[in-house]
Amino acid sequence: MIVLARLNPFRSERIEALPFRDGVRLGDAAAEPLLARFEALGRRGLLVGPHGSGKTTLREALERLLVARGWRVRSLVLAADRAIDRSALVALTADASPRDVLSIDGIDRLGWWSWRRVLRAADSAGGVLATSHAPGRLPLLLEHRTSPGLLRELVAELVDAETAERSSERCEALFARHRGDLRACLRVLYDDHAIAERSRPDETSAVAD
């Protein structure tokens, strides 16, 4: 028996739909109230948290809301494993107007000079939204915190009570191994579920869904 991907309780669309809690959300619903806070901060806001805590997903959700409200969003993703694309940085900052919101994923990867360039552009832009692993550079919009308990809570929303109870120790171990990266932990649990169901003798792939 195999577990069909569309029935795996840890499939990505279910993880993205998890509700907001303790500063962490991996999906969209937190974006609306955060947008009000972003406005209150003068449209300068930073989402802070460890890798895999949902910063990028939330930034993208905020971008969609901003576009729906008539803003022009200019995005730049600074991947940790790649050199900064200088031409992309120039494109982001060139001729920024009050209609533009600059949205940057990973501003902690920008050096001092590049950050100065963004700040100069921000003076004429309508707003700046960014993610970072550390606070600073922009007013704090939201700090994402993760914990083994939070991982257990999220798992409890995805599977039945018995399965959640069984995976409690596993959550602790995964949280430690992946240093608080909830998304990485949930991906491993996706595989765990597929393997566990595969080894079962019965013929159904019924899961808590």
Binding site: I2, A5, S12, E13
Partner: protein, 126 residues
């Protein structure tokens, strides 16, 4: 009265082979005539990785009234087939999209050879 949508298909099993006709009715109920109502036939992925989606066909209903029921007809596309493995599934669905937007239930369907979903990693029948 709240705004609502509904999709129904003539084929009860809602499973089709490529080239089959997909027919049925859609209904909507708004307080004011909507600006636009469109039915989309689309596929989407679900599973471990990033989600993907593709619209195969769309049918826009002309001059929609506030409360209406209309018929639709699509031809089931040749690809991609509905299929599932442990890492990813490809599924098909119909979705009614309107302006103003209303949260609408999807109508899930299967499109594949023999009107069946292909299950990857499963021994072939026979």
């Amino acid at each position: 009265m709240s705004d609502t949508h509904g999709i129904s298909t003539d084929h009860q099993a809602n499973a089709y082979a490529p080239g089959d006709e997909i027919t049925g009715t859609v209904s909507w109920s708004f307080e004011q005539p909507p600006r636009r109502v469109e039915l989309r036939l689309f596929w989407y992925t679900s599973g471990k990785g990033t989600r993907d989606v593709g619209i195969a066909a769309r049918l826009q209903f002309d001059e929609p009234g506030a409360v209406e029921t209309r018929r639709y007809r699509f031809v089931a596309p040749n690809q991609p087939h509905s299929c599932s493995g442990t890492l990813v599934s490809i599924s098909w669905a119909l979705e009614l999209v309107s302006d103003p937007a209303v949260v609408a239930p999807r109508s899930e369907l299967v499109i594949g050879p023999g009107q069946r979903e292909i299950v990857l990693g499963e021994p072939a029948a026979g």
